[in-house]
Symmetry: C2
Subunit: 363 residues, 2 copies
Amino acid sequence: MRIDYMNKLIQCIRREGLDGMLICPGEEMEFLTGLRPMFCERFQGLFVKAEGTAFYICNLLYEEELRRQLPPEIPVYPWFDGEVMTERVEAALREQGLLGSRIGVNRDAVAFQILEIMERVNVTFCNAKPLMEEMRIRKSEEELDGLRASAAIVDQVYERVLERIRPGVTELELQNFLLEEMSRLGGESPECIVGVGANSSYPHYCGSEGVIGERDVVLMDYGCTCRGMYSDISRTVFVGEPTDRQREAYELVKRSNEAAEDLVAEGAWIPDIDRKAREVLDEKGYAHTLINRLGHGVGYTIHEAPDIKQSNPRKLERGMAFSIEPGIYLAGSFGIRIEDVVIVNEKGAREVLNRASKELTVL
Amino acid sequence: MRIDYMNKLIQCIRREGLDGMLICPGEEMEFLTGLRPMFCERFQGLFVKAEGTAFYICNLLYEEELRRQLPPEIPVYPWFDGEVMTERVEAALREQGLLGSRIGVNRDAVAFQILEIMERVNVTFCNAKPLMEEMRIRKSEEELDGLRASAAIVDQVYERVLERIRPGVTELELQNFLLEEMSRLGGESPECIVGVGANSSYPHYCGSEGVIGERDVVLMDYGCTCRGMYSDISRTVFVGEPTDRQREAYELVKRSNEAAEDLVAEGAWIPDIDRKAREVLDEKGYAHTLINRLGHGVGYTIHEAPDIKQSNPRKLERGMAFSIEPGIYLAGSFGIRIEDVVIVNEKGAREVLNRASKELTVL
């Protein structure tokens, strides 16, 4: 149990006027409690009450493992497959004084379970994903160091993957190389996107069958965790000479990335950063192709607060960590993305964690 | 688009008195539509209306890919990161006449998104996981053939994994072997649990660090898909001579498995099958250690209807497919599980799909 975060969580629950929080298995449960149980279709989760106590509801299948791992003051209420789950949940909530209450749910709660409980038990669940992210939006020095270490891993991998990129290599081969190298360097939960040619034009492309041609664009977006903290980097390189249009797009994205990063500082207005990146792209009329937010927070999860976008009207604060990832996406033709993780560090200054080269690279 | 299933779905929506269904990305969306888009924290899903039409809401990021893959008569409503998602969802639901309506959600919908929409838009979502499973609970001949082919893969893998089991081998090594062999034989989405020694006593154990000792129990539970249909098998073997207690437990679980499977037939009462398996275990007082349902339906997903358990009072029908998996779990000591997939076939007869030996095996 992370006592620091449990105390923060309880404060957040009270500030929001909730009666409690339900944390279902996933990365948030893991950083808060160290637990990472299997999460199948059977409802389970840790309930944290505004008054400061906690209890756990799970299927009987998981009871023994959880009892061994949870502190003894946290009771476990098991339900058995042969019973009706919602009846046992109702009994547990009654015993805990939570009937008629309002309980926030975290990002990992599953809709059909939550709706099934609300349909049969007198309890109201509400979206508390923002609360869980607000609680950790200002990273500690230790967490910032974890982000730095994680960024160093993906930077090292970048140097090495360049040697593998040549005509005839498949997206799958590059994906496997990236995943294995991140693991080899101590990164956990590695993930990646590799898009070649027209596939690079879809920001969340998830195929693996493309093959690098004689003249081609290769977009790589990858990351992993180190000490629980995520890295996230994107680089785009060329095999053979880029066309004039590709070269123009690349230089614009690079300037957009750098101009936005230059604005990062304690007190900077988030929508201004997003706007600046788009203004640069619009020098050549490309802003409309940037079809996503400029960036997302990074930490114990790969996407968390703060989003860097127009609809997030707030200022940057010390300890915030997020990606800056402008792109030009010409659907069906090609895409360019350059992404770093940037933090407002312990001194309130901008620190770009990724050091991998952004110069136009022709292999 | 699977027209047969879309028509079934529309009938189910009407029968339940719903105004529509929301299918979020995952295996159910894939078998229904062929689509498998990335599903990040951004809300997206296919809405199917009771009147028979459909539309899709997604982030702008996914619009191009989805438009290329969806039939042209299905409109796509994109929302942009820089806007407020719920406002665009509200506009889409208004245009589609769904404000004030009641919409079922499938297993893959995420609670925080669904709650966020319900908090801001005049629409009610409800749990429709059972509806989606009822729709496919009686498998077609083609689907039963897929289940047979999938079971044949895991049976073949069983023969080969036995050669790898010896003292000093780790759970991780056996897991990797199982996953690779399933893939090599054409199985997709392979998954497995390997529990050695005391780890075998936790039915959903998810570690990988255990090492096989000189005398040990090895529990393996694994499966994959073939033509979209899942397999699921568990076998438990011994390295060195089992203790008398282990031998007794093994023989009881084997008899329990066979006695339950013998009851499977068109018209059999599901709770009777669960009861029979537990009665056999209770000849030596072990029934209380079987802490889960006796079995679960298997098909396009690994766990679906029908559950084989006391609280599922219905009869078996032609085309149903499910696991039978009794076990004895002595927490912290050892566990035994023997699991097959069984179907009520096209002729209404019982057919045990797994042929891998269940005889007590000492390696």
